[in-house]
Chain length 277, copies 2
Protein backbone atom coordinates (compact mmCIF):
# COMPACT_ATOMS: atom_id res chain seq x y z
CA UNK A 1 0.00 0.00 0.00
CA UNK A 2 1.29 3.42 -0.91
CA UNK A 3 1.36 5.93 1.92
CA UNK A 4 -0.19 9.35 1.41
CA UNK A 5 1.88 12.23 0.12
CA UNK A 6 3.22 14.39 2.95
CA UNK A 7 3.33 18.16 2.52
CA UNK A 8 4.83 20.67 4.95
CA UNK A 9 3.46 24.20 5.49
CA UNK A 10 4.03 27.10 7.88
CA UNK A 11 1.77 26.29 10.79
CA UNK A 12 0.06 26.16 13.10
CA UNK A 13 -3.43 25.42 11.81
CA UNK A 14 -5.54 28.44 10.93
CA UNK A 15 -2.85 30.38 9.02
CA UNK A 16 -3.15 31.57 5.43
CA UNK A 17 -0.42 29.04 4.60
CA UNK A 18 -2.70 26.23 5.70
CA UNK A 19 -5.52 27.67 3.59
CA UNK A 20 -3.20 27.83 0.55
CA UNK A 21 -2.07 24.25 1.17
CA UNK A 22 -5.65 22.97 1.33
CA UNK A 23 -6.41 24.66 -2.01
CA UNK A 24 -3.22 23.47 -3.74
CA UNK A 25 -3.10 19.87 -2.53
CA UNK A 26 -5.48 16.91 -2.90
CA UNK A 27 -7.74 15.78 -0.09
CA UNK A 28 -5.81 12.59 0.63
CA UNK A 29 -2.55 14.48 1.15
CA UNK A 30 -1.26 14.58 4.71
CA UNK A 31 -0.43 18.21 5.51
CA UNK A 32 2.05 18.90 8.29
CA UNK A 33 2.45 22.24 10.13
CA UNK A 34 6.02 23.48 10.75
CA UNK A 35 7.19 26.16 13.19
CA UNK A 36 9.26 28.01 10.58
CA UNK A 37 10.04 28.08 6.87
CA UNK A 38 13.68 27.01 7.16
CA UNK A 39 12.67 23.77 8.92
CA UNK A 40 10.24 23.00 6.10
CA UNK A 41 13.00 23.36 3.49
CA UNK A 42 15.44 21.24 5.52
CA UNK A 43 12.94 18.40 5.91
CA UNK A 44 12.01 18.64 2.26
CA UNK A 45 15.59 18.52 1.05
CA UNK A 46 16.31 15.46 3.22
CA UNK A 47 13.12 13.76 1.96
CA UNK A 48 11.30 13.71 5.30
CA UNK A 49 8.37 15.26 3.42
CA UNK A 50 7.46 15.05 -0.28
CA UNK A 51 6.50 18.65 -0.95
CA UNK A 52 6.22 22.02 0.75
CA UNK A 53 3.82 24.92 0.30
CA UNK A 54 5.52 28.23 1.11
CA UNK A 55 4.68 31.93 0.68
CA UNK A 56 7.05 33.59 -1.80
CA UNK A 57 5.67 37.11 -2.34
CA UNK A 58 2.97 39.47 -1.08
CA UNK A 59 1.54 42.31 -3.16
CA UNK A 60 1.90 44.79 -0.27
CA UNK A 61 4.98 43.62 1.58
CA UNK A 62 7.07 42.16 -1.24
CA UNK A 63 9.21 39.03 -1.26
CA UNK A 64 9.46 36.53 1.54
CA UNK A 65 13.23 36.66 1.98
CA UNK A 66 13.66 33.33 3.71
CA UNK A 67 11.83 31.52 0.91
CA UNK A 68 13.99 33.12 -1.79
CA UNK A 69 17.15 32.36 0.21
CA UNK A 70 16.11 28.73 0.66
CA UNK A 71 15.34 28.37 -3.05
CA UNK A 72 18.83 29.63 -3.83
CA UNK A 73 20.47 27.42 -1.18
CA UNK A 74 18.72 24.08 -1.70
CA UNK A 75 18.35 22.17 -4.96
CA UNK A 76 14.57 22.17 -5.30
CA UNK A 77 11.95 22.87 -7.96
CA UNK A 78 8.74 24.90 -8.07
CA UNK A 79 5.78 22.76 -9.23
CA UNK A 80 2.84 25.14 -8.98
CA UNK A 81 1.76 28.56 -7.74
CA UNK A 82 -1.32 30.09 -6.15
CA UNK A 83 -2.30 33.72 -5.62
CA UNK A 84 -4.41 33.92 -2.48
CA UNK A 85 -6.30 37.12 -1.57
CA UNK A 86 -5.40 38.04 2.00
CA UNK A 87 -7.92 39.80 4.22
CA UNK A 88 -6.92 40.69 7.76
CA UNK A 89 -9.36 41.26 10.63
CA UNK A 90 -8.83 42.50 14.18
CA UNK A 91 -9.93 39.77 16.61
CA UNK A 92 -10.52 40.08 20.35
CA UNK A 93 -12.15 38.23 23.24
CA UNK A 94 -15.93 38.58 23.23
CA UNK A 95 -17.17 41.96 24.52
CA UNK A 96 -13.77 43.67 24.33
CA UNK A 97 -13.77 47.15 22.73
CA UNK A 98 -10.97 49.08 21.06
CA UNK A 99 -10.50 51.23 24.19
CA UNK A 100 -9.79 48.11 26.28
CA UNK A 101 -6.79 47.16 24.15
CA UNK A 102 -3.20 47.84 25.13
CA UNK A 103 -1.42 45.64 22.56
CA UNK A 104 -1.88 44.33 19.01
CA UNK A 105 -0.28 40.93 18.29
CA UNK A 106 0.51 39.20 15.01
CA UNK A 107 3.10 37.82 12.61
CA UNK A 108 5.43 40.53 11.22
CA UNK A 109 4.06 40.10 7.65
CA UNK A 110 0.46 40.63 8.83
CA UNK A 111 1.56 43.68 10.84
CA UNK A 112 3.40 45.06 7.82
CA UNK A 113 0.26 44.69 5.71
CA UNK A 114 -1.83 46.69 8.24
CA UNK A 115 0.57 49.50 9.20
CA UNK A 116 -1.82 52.37 8.47
CA UNK A 117 -4.60 50.78 10.49
CA UNK A 118 -2.32 50.05 13.46
CA UNK A 119 -1.05 53.59 13.32
CA UNK A 120 -4.57 55.00 13.24
CA UNK A 121 -5.61 53.17 16.43
CA UNK A 122 -2.26 54.02 18.03
CA UNK A 123 -1.58 50.82 20.04
CA UNK A 124 1.76 49.11 20.67
CA UNK A 125 2.65 46.06 18.57
CA UNK A 126 3.79 42.65 19.76
CA UNK A 127 5.19 40.54 16.92
CA UNK A 128 4.78 36.74 17.16
CA UNK A 129 5.84 33.66 15.21
CA UNK A 130 2.42 33.14 13.63
CA UNK A 131 -1.04 34.67 13.59
CA UNK A 132 -2.30 31.48 15.27
CA UNK A 133 0.15 31.89 18.18
CA UNK A 134 -1.04 35.47 18.53
CA UNK A 135 -4.68 34.28 18.58
CA UNK A 136 -3.87 31.78 21.33
CA UNK A 137 -2.26 34.59 23.31
CA UNK A 138 -5.39 36.75 22.91
CA UNK A 139 -7.58 33.96 24.34
CA UNK A 140 -5.61 34.46 27.57
CA UNK A 141 -5.16 38.24 27.60
CA UNK A 142 -8.33 40.34 27.30
CA UNK A 143 -6.42 43.58 26.62
CA UNK A 144 -4.73 42.10 23.53
CA UNK A 145 -6.04 41.85 19.95
CA UNK A 146 -4.74 39.72 17.09
CA UNK A 147 -4.51 40.64 13.41
CA UNK A 148 -5.33 37.55 11.38
CA UNK A 149 -7.86 35.81 9.20
CA UNK A 150 -11.47 35.11 10.06
CA UNK A 151 -10.83 31.34 10.44
CA UNK A 152 -9.02 32.16 13.69
CA UNK A 153 -12.20 33.67 15.14
CA UNK A 154 -13.98 30.32 14.98
CA UNK A 155 -11.00 28.25 16.05
CA UNK A 156 -10.16 30.41 19.08
CA UNK A 157 -13.66 31.68 19.85
CA UNK A 158 -12.74 35.32 19.22
CA UNK A 159 -14.89 38.20 18.03
CA UNK A 160 -14.17 40.24 14.89
CA UNK A 161 -13.81 43.82 16.15
CA UNK A 162 -12.80 45.31 12.80
CA UNK A 163 -12.92 43.73 9.35
CA UNK A 164 -10.62 43.95 6.34
CA UNK A 165 -8.07 46.22 8.00
CA UNK A 166 -5.20 45.65 5.52
CA UNK A 167 -3.72 48.85 4.05
CA UNK A 168 -4.47 47.90 0.46
CA UNK A 169 -7.62 46.23 -0.86
CA UNK A 170 -5.91 44.08 -3.46
CA UNK A 171 -3.70 42.34 -0.93
CA UNK A 172 -2.58 39.00 -2.39
CA UNK A 173 0.05 36.46 -1.32
CA UNK A 174 1.63 34.16 -3.86
CA UNK A 175 2.35 30.63 -2.59
CA UNK A 176 4.36 27.94 -4.39
CA UNK A 177 4.59 24.17 -4.12
CA UNK A 178 8.26 23.17 -3.86
CA UNK A 179 9.58 19.66 -4.42
CA UNK A 180 12.75 17.61 -4.94
CA UNK A 181 11.27 16.34 -8.18
CA UNK A 182 11.08 18.35 -11.35
CA UNK A 183 8.18 18.24 -13.81
CA UNK A 184 8.29 18.96 -17.53
CA UNK A 185 4.59 19.09 -18.37
CA UNK A 186 3.64 22.00 -20.64
CA UNK A 187 0.17 23.38 -19.88
CA UNK A 188 0.29 26.14 -22.51
CA UNK A 189 -0.06 28.74 -19.77
CA UNK A 190 3.30 28.42 -18.04
CA UNK A 191 5.86 30.43 -16.18
CA UNK A 192 9.58 29.73 -15.79
CA UNK A 193 11.66 30.87 -12.81
CA UNK A 194 15.45 31.24 -12.65
CA UNK A 195 18.09 32.67 -10.31
CA UNK A 196 21.23 34.31 -11.68
CA UNK A 197 24.21 36.21 -10.35
CA UNK A 198 26.28 38.56 -12.48
CA UNK A 199 30.04 38.62 -13.03
CA UNK A 200 31.55 41.29 -10.83
CA UNK A 201 28.21 41.55 -9.05
CA UNK A 202 27.44 44.77 -10.94
CA UNK A 203 23.68 45.45 -10.95
CA UNK A 204 24.19 47.41 -14.19
CA UNK A 205 25.18 44.13 -15.88
CA UNK A 206 21.56 43.10 -15.53
CA UNK A 207 20.97 45.17 -18.66
CA UNK A 208 22.71 42.59 -20.87
CA UNK A 209 20.55 39.81 -19.47
CA UNK A 210 17.30 41.73 -19.84
CA UNK A 211 18.32 42.52 -23.41
CA UNK A 212 18.22 38.79 -24.25
CA UNK A 213 14.65 38.54 -23.01
CA UNK A 214 13.55 41.78 -24.70
CA UNK A 215 15.11 40.76 -28.03
CA UNK A 216 13.07 37.56 -28.03
CA UNK A 217 9.86 39.21 -26.80
CA UNK A 218 9.83 37.15 -23.65
CA UNK A 219 7.62 38.85 -21.09
CA UNK A 220 9.08 39.03 -17.59
CA UNK A 221 6.58 38.95 -14.75
CA UNK A 222 9.08 39.62 -11.99
CA UNK A 223 12.65 40.71 -11.30
CA UNK A 224 13.72 40.59 -7.69
CA UNK A 225 17.14 41.19 -6.19
CA UNK A 226 18.32 39.49 -3.01
CA UNK A 227 21.64 39.93 -1.21
CA UNK A 228 24.10 37.21 -2.22
CA UNK A 229 25.33 37.27 1.43
CA UNK A 230 28.81 37.98 0.10
CA UNK A 231 28.78 41.60 1.28
CA UNK A 232 26.96 44.86 0.57
CA UNK A 233 26.27 45.58 -3.09
CA UNK A 234 26.36 41.95 -4.26
CA UNK A 235 23.06 40.48 -5.36
CA UNK A 236 21.27 37.48 -6.81
CA UNK A 237 18.43 38.16 -9.25
CA UNK A 238 15.25 36.10 -9.24
CA UNK A 239 13.59 36.33 -12.66
CA UNK A 240 10.16 34.96 -13.62
CA UNK A 241 9.14 34.84 -17.28
CA UNK A 242 6.06 33.80 -19.22
CA UNK A 243 6.54 30.54 -21.11
CA UNK A 244 7.88 27.02 -20.54
CA UNK A 245 11.57 26.16 -20.58
CA UNK A 246 10.87 23.60 -23.29
CA UNK A 247 9.41 26.30 -25.56
CA UNK A 248 12.09 26.75 -28.22
CA UNK A 249 12.50 30.50 -27.74
CA UNK A 250 12.79 30.23 -23.95
CA UNK A 251 15.23 27.32 -24.28
CA UNK A 252 17.48 29.32 -26.64
CA UNK A 253 17.34 32.44 -24.49
CA UNK A 254 18.17 30.56 -21.31
CA UNK A 255 21.12 28.87 -23.04
CA UNK A 256 22.49 32.26 -24.10
CA UNK A 257 22.01 33.69 -20.64
CA UNK A 258 23.78 30.78 -18.96
CA UNK A 259 26.94 31.74 -20.87
CA UNK A 260 26.76 35.33 -19.63
CA UNK A 261 26.24 34.87 -15.91
CA UNK A 262 28.37 33.81 -12.93
CA UNK A 263 25.63 31.61 -11.48
CA UNK A 264 22.51 30.17 -13.08
CA UNK A 265 19.84 28.05 -11.45
CA UNK A 266 16.58 26.84 -12.95
CA UNK A 267 13.76 26.79 -10.40
CA UNK A 268 11.36 25.12 -12.80
CA UNK A 269 8.50 25.68 -15.19
CA UNK A 270 4.96 25.47 -13.88
CA UNK A 271 1.40 26.49 -14.62
CA UNK A 272 0.73 30.19 -14.04
CA UNK A 273 -1.43 31.37 -11.18
CA UNK A 274 -4.15 29.11 -10.01
CA UNK A 275 -6.64 31.70 -8.70
CA UNK A 276 -7.48 31.39 -5.01
CA UNK A 277 -11.07 31.77 -3.88
Amino acid sequence: MMSNKQVGYLGPEGTFSQKATLILENEDTEIIPYPNILNIFEDLSSNVIDEAVVPIENSTEGSVGITLDALSHFDLKILKELELPIQHDLLVQKGVTIDDLNVICSHPQAIAQCRHYINSINKPIHTMESTANAARYVTEISTAAVIGNSILSKKYNLEILDESIQDYDNNVTRFVIVSNNDQEEITGHDKTSIIISLYGDKPGGLYEILYEFAKNNINLTRIESRPSKQGMGRYLFFIDMEGHRNDLIIQDTLETIQKKVAMYKLLGSYEMTVEGE
Copy 2:
Protein backbone atom coordinates in the same frame (compact mmCIF):
# COMPACT_ATOMS: atom_id res chain seq x y z
CA MET B 1 19.27 81.31 20.38
CA MET B 2 19.08 78.51 17.84
CA SER B 3 17.78 75.23 19.17
CA ASN B 4 19.70 72.03 18.45
CA LYS B 5 18.89 69.94 15.42
CA GLN B 6 16.48 67.10 16.27
CA VAL B 7 16.97 63.71 14.65
CA GLY B 8 14.69 60.68 14.98
CA TYR B 9 15.90 57.07 14.99
CA LEU B 10 14.45 53.61 15.64
CA GLY B 11 14.80 53.21 19.38
CA PRO B 12 15.03 52.43 22.13
CA GLU B 13 18.59 53.23 23.17
CA GLY B 14 21.12 50.48 22.59
CA THR B 15 20.02 49.53 19.07
CA PHE B 16 22.25 49.55 15.98
CA SER B 17 20.12 52.44 14.72
CA GLN B 18 21.22 54.51 17.70
CA LYS B 19 24.84 53.59 17.01
CA ALA B 20 24.47 54.65 13.36
CA THR B 21 22.84 57.92 14.42
CA LEU B 22 25.68 58.74 16.83
CA ILE B 23 28.22 58.17 14.02
CA LEU B 24 26.29 60.13 11.39
CA GLU B 25 25.23 63.14 13.45
CA ASN B 26 27.15 65.82 15.35
CA GLU B 27 27.48 65.76 19.11
CA ASP B 28 25.20 68.73 19.71
CA THR B 29 22.34 67.06 17.82
CA GLU B 30 19.40 65.95 19.92
CA ILE B 31 18.62 62.36 18.96
CA ILE B 32 15.14 61.02 19.64
CA PRO B 33 14.17 57.33 19.80
CA TYR B 34 10.92 56.27 18.06
CA PRO B 35 8.92 53.05 18.51
CA ASN B 36 8.70 52.36 14.77
CA ILE B 37 9.97 53.58 11.41
CA LEU B 38 6.61 54.82 10.09
CA ASN B 39 6.26 57.20 13.06
CA ILE B 40 9.71 58.62 12.32
CA PHE B 41 8.75 59.39 8.73
CA GLU B 42 5.43 60.94 9.75
CA ASP B 43 7.08 63.26 12.27
CA LEU B 44 9.79 64.14 9.78
CA SER B 45 7.36 64.98 7.01
CA SER B 46 5.33 67.20 9.35
CA ASN B 47 8.54 68.92 10.54
CA VAL B 48 8.33 67.74 14.16
CA ILE B 49 11.95 66.62 13.69
CA ASP B 50 14.62 67.93 11.31
CA GLU B 51 16.13 64.67 10.09
CA ALA B 52 15.81 60.92 10.51
CA VAL B 53 18.37 58.11 10.47
CA VAL B 54 16.80 54.90 9.15
CA PRO B 55 18.09 51.47 8.05
CA ILE B 56 17.53 50.93 4.33
CA GLU B 57 19.32 47.66 3.47
CA ASN B 58 21.17 44.77 5.12
CA SER B 59 23.74 42.65 3.31
CA THR B 60 22.17 39.42 4.61
CA GLU B 61 18.48 40.20 4.85
CA GLY B 62 18.01 42.67 2.02
CA SER B 63 15.93 45.82 1.88
CA VAL B 64 14.03 47.30 4.78
CA GLY B 65 10.61 47.38 3.12
CA ILE B 66 9.03 49.99 5.33
CA THR B 67 11.86 52.44 4.66
CA LEU B 68 11.58 52.01 0.89
CA ASP B 69 7.79 52.38 1.07
CA ALA B 70 8.09 55.55 3.16
CA LEU B 71 10.64 57.01 0.72
CA SER B 72 8.21 56.40 -2.11
CA HIS B 73 5.22 57.77 -0.14
CA PHE B 74 6.66 60.93 1.44
CA ASP B 75 8.47 63.75 -0.34
CA LEU B 76 11.87 63.51 1.36
CA LYS B 77 15.54 63.47 0.38
CA ILE B 78 18.51 61.30 1.30
CA LEU B 79 21.42 63.42 2.60
CA LYS B 80 24.03 60.83 3.56
CA GLU B 81 24.62 57.10 3.99
CA LEU B 82 26.57 54.86 6.36
CA GLU B 83 27.47 51.19 6.12
CA LEU B 84 27.65 49.78 9.62
CA PRO B 85 29.10 46.31 10.29
CA ILE B 86 26.58 44.36 12.36
CA GLN B 87 27.74 41.76 14.86
CA HIS B 88 25.15 39.86 16.86
CA ASP B 89 25.80 38.18 20.21
CA LEU B 90 23.65 35.90 22.34
CA LEU B 91 23.06 37.58 25.72
CA VAL B 92 21.67 36.01 28.89
CA GLN B 93 21.38 36.65 32.63
CA LYS B 94 24.63 36.00 34.46
CA GLY B 95 25.36 32.29 35.03
CA VAL B 96 22.74 31.05 32.56
CA THR B 97 23.90 28.28 30.17
CA ILE B 98 22.57 27.27 26.77
CA ASP B 99 20.76 24.27 28.30
CA ASP B 100 18.79 26.59 30.61
CA LEU B 101 17.24 28.43 27.69
CA ASN B 102 13.76 27.79 26.37
CA VAL B 103 13.34 30.85 24.15
CA ILE B 104 15.41 33.22 21.99
CA CYS B 105 14.10 36.80 21.70
CA SER B 106 14.95 39.56 19.25
CA HIS B 107 13.85 41.88 16.47
CA PRO B 108 12.83 40.01 13.27
CA GLN B 109 15.80 41.43 11.29
CA ALA B 110 18.31 40.22 13.91
CA ILE B 111 16.63 36.81 13.95
CA ALA B 112 16.75 36.66 10.15
CA GLN B 113 20.49 37.39 10.23
CA CYS B 114 21.16 34.50 12.65
CA ARG B 115 18.89 31.76 11.28
CA HIS B 116 21.57 29.09 11.01
CA TYR B 117 22.76 29.66 14.57
CA ILE B 118 19.21 29.61 15.97
CA ASN B 119 18.53 26.43 14.05
CA SER B 120 21.72 24.80 15.35
CA ILE B 121 20.79 25.40 19.01
CA ASN B 122 17.19 24.39 18.28
CA LYS B 123 15.29 26.81 20.54
CA PRO B 124 11.94 28.50 19.86
CA ILE B 125 11.98 32.14 18.73
CA HIS B 126 10.07 35.05 20.18
CA THR B 127 10.12 38.10 17.90
CA MET B 128 9.97 41.54 19.53
CA GLU B 129 9.76 45.18 18.43
CA SER B 130 13.43 45.89 19.12
CA THR B 131 16.54 44.15 20.39
CA ALA B 132 16.42 46.48 23.40
CA ASN B 133 12.89 45.38 24.30
CA ALA B 134 14.08 41.79 24.03
CA ALA B 135 17.03 42.56 26.34
CA ARG B 136 14.68 44.10 28.90
CA TYR B 137 12.56 40.93 28.75
CA VAL B 138 15.64 38.76 29.34
CA THR B 139 16.49 40.74 32.49
CA GLU B 140 13.20 39.38 33.89
CA ILE B 141 13.19 35.85 32.45
CA SER B 142 16.24 33.69 33.16
CA THR B 143 15.29 31.04 30.60
CA ALA B 144 15.30 33.58 27.76
CA ALA B 145 18.23 34.87 25.69
CA VAL B 146 18.40 37.93 23.45
CA ILE B 147 20.18 38.28 20.11
CA GLY B 148 21.63 41.77 19.94
CA ASN B 149 24.71 43.91 20.05
CA SER B 150 27.27 43.96 22.83
CA ILE B 151 26.18 47.43 24.03
CA LEU B 152 23.04 45.76 25.40
CA SER B 153 25.14 43.59 27.70
CA LYS B 154 26.40 46.65 29.57
CA LYS B 155 23.12 48.52 29.55
CA TYR B 156 21.06 45.57 30.81
CA ASN B 157 23.76 43.80 32.86
CA LEU B 158 23.67 40.67 30.69
CA GLU B 159 26.39 38.14 29.91
CA ILE B 160 27.60 37.32 26.40
CA LEU B 161 27.00 33.56 26.06
CA ASP B 162 28.01 33.35 22.40
CA GLU B 163 29.74 35.94 20.23
CA SER B 164 29.37 36.94 16.59
CA ILE B 165 26.55 34.49 15.85
CA GLN B 166 25.32 36.09 12.59
CA ASP B 167 25.14 33.68 9.63
CA TYR B 168 27.53 35.66 7.47
CA ASP B 169 30.72 37.39 8.58
CA ASN B 170 30.39 40.38 6.34
CA ASN B 171 27.04 41.43 7.75
CA VAL B 172 26.53 45.14 7.11
CA THR B 173 23.51 47.42 7.41
CA ARG B 174 23.26 50.56 5.33
CA PHE B 175 21.66 53.54 7.09
CA VAL B 176 20.62 56.84 5.49
CA ILE B 177 19.92 60.33 6.81
CA VAL B 178 16.57 61.51 5.43
CA SER B 179 15.41 65.13 5.44
CA ASN B 180 12.79 67.53 4.05
CA ASN B 181 15.60 69.64 2.66
CA ASP B 182 17.60 68.75 -0.39
CA GLN B 183 21.32 69.40 -0.83
CA GLU B 184 23.24 69.92 -4.05
CA GLU B 185 26.83 69.72 -2.85
CA ILE B 186 29.10 67.63 -5.09
CA THR B 187 31.79 65.76 -3.14
CA GLY B 188 33.29 64.02 -6.17
CA HIS B 189 32.40 60.66 -4.65
CA ASP B 190 28.63 60.72 -4.91
CA LYS B 191 25.69 58.46 -5.43
CA THR B 192 22.25 59.32 -6.81
CA SER B 193 19.05 57.48 -5.91
CA ILE B 194 15.79 57.44 -7.85
CA ILE B 195 12.47 55.57 -7.83
CA ILE B 196 10.65 54.76 -11.07
CA SER B 197 7.62 52.82 -12.18
CA LEU B 198 7.18 51.50 -15.70
CA TYR B 199 4.26 51.97 -18.09
CA GLY B 200 2.08 48.87 -17.99
CA ASP B 201 4.05 47.74 -14.94
CA LYS B 202 5.97 45.24 -17.07
CA PRO B 203 9.24 44.26 -15.35
CA GLY B 204 10.66 43.51 -18.81
CA GLY B 205 10.40 47.21 -19.61
CA LEU B 206 13.21 47.76 -17.12
CA TYR B 207 15.52 46.76 -19.96
CA GLU B 208 14.94 50.05 -21.78
CA ILE B 209 15.79 52.02 -18.65
CA LEU B 210 18.92 50.03 -17.89
CA TYR B 211 19.99 50.53 -21.50
CA GLU B 212 20.17 54.32 -20.92
CA PHE B 213 22.53 53.81 -18.00
CA ALA B 214 24.64 51.20 -19.81
CA LYS B 215 24.94 53.37 -22.94
CA ASN B 216 26.38 56.21 -20.85
CA ASN B 217 28.62 53.97 -18.73
CA ILE B 218 26.83 54.88 -15.54
CA ASN B 219 27.53 52.27 -12.92
CA LEU B 220 24.49 51.09 -10.98
CA THR B 221 25.15 50.02 -7.41
CA ARG B 222 21.65 48.72 -6.73
CA ILE B 223 18.35 47.81 -8.39
CA GLU B 224 15.56 46.86 -6.04
CA SER B 225 11.93 46.12 -6.83
CA ARG B 226 9.12 46.81 -4.37
CA PRO B 227 5.42 46.11 -4.79
CA SER B 228 3.59 49.24 -5.99
CA LYS B 229 0.67 48.10 -3.76
CA GLN B 230 -1.54 48.19 -6.84
CA GLY B 231 -1.78 44.40 -7.06
CA MET B 232 0.44 41.40 -7.72
CA GLY B 233 3.00 41.84 -10.49
CA ARG B 234 3.17 45.65 -10.30
CA TYR B 235 6.41 47.08 -8.99
CA LEU B 236 8.40 50.19 -8.26
CA PHE B 237 12.14 50.10 -8.93
CA PHE B 238 14.66 51.74 -6.62
CA ILE B 239 17.85 52.47 -8.54
CA ASP B 240 21.14 53.75 -7.09
CA MET B 241 23.89 54.96 -9.41
CA GLU B 242 27.42 56.26 -9.02
CA GLY B 243 27.67 59.99 -9.70
CA HIS B 244 25.92 63.24 -8.82
CA ARG B 245 22.71 64.42 -10.48
CA ASN B 246 24.50 67.65 -11.45
CA ASP B 247 27.17 65.69 -13.36
CA LEU B 248 26.32 66.36 -17.00
CA ILE B 249 26.08 62.73 -18.04
CA ILE B 250 23.82 61.79 -15.10
CA GLN B 251 21.66 64.84 -15.70
CA ASP B 252 21.17 63.94 -19.38
CA THR B 253 20.46 60.30 -18.61
CA LEU B 254 17.91 61.12 -15.93
CA GLU B 255 16.16 63.55 -18.27
CA THR B 256 15.86 60.83 -20.91
CA ILE B 257 14.60 58.32 -18.37
CA GLN B 258 11.94 60.69 -17.03
CA LYS B 259 10.34 60.69 -20.48
CA LYS B 260 10.19 56.90 -20.58
CA VAL B 261 8.64 56.08 -17.20
CA ALA B 262 5.19 56.29 -15.63
CA MET B 263 6.56 57.65 -12.33
CA TYR B 264 9.92 59.24 -11.51
CA LYS B 265 11.14 60.47 -8.16
CA LEU B 266 14.58 61.78 -7.26
CA LEU B 267 15.64 60.74 -3.76
CA GLY B 268 18.77 62.86 -3.89
CA SER B 269 22.51 62.86 -4.49
CA TYR B 270 24.81 62.28 -1.54
CA GLU B 271 28.30 61.24 -0.59
CA MET B 272 28.90 57.50 -0.99
CA THR B 273 29.35 55.28 2.02
CA VAL B 274 30.88 56.78 5.07
CA GLU B 275 32.55 53.69 6.57
CA GLY B 276 31.35 52.72 10.03
CA GLU B 277 33.84 51.67 12.69
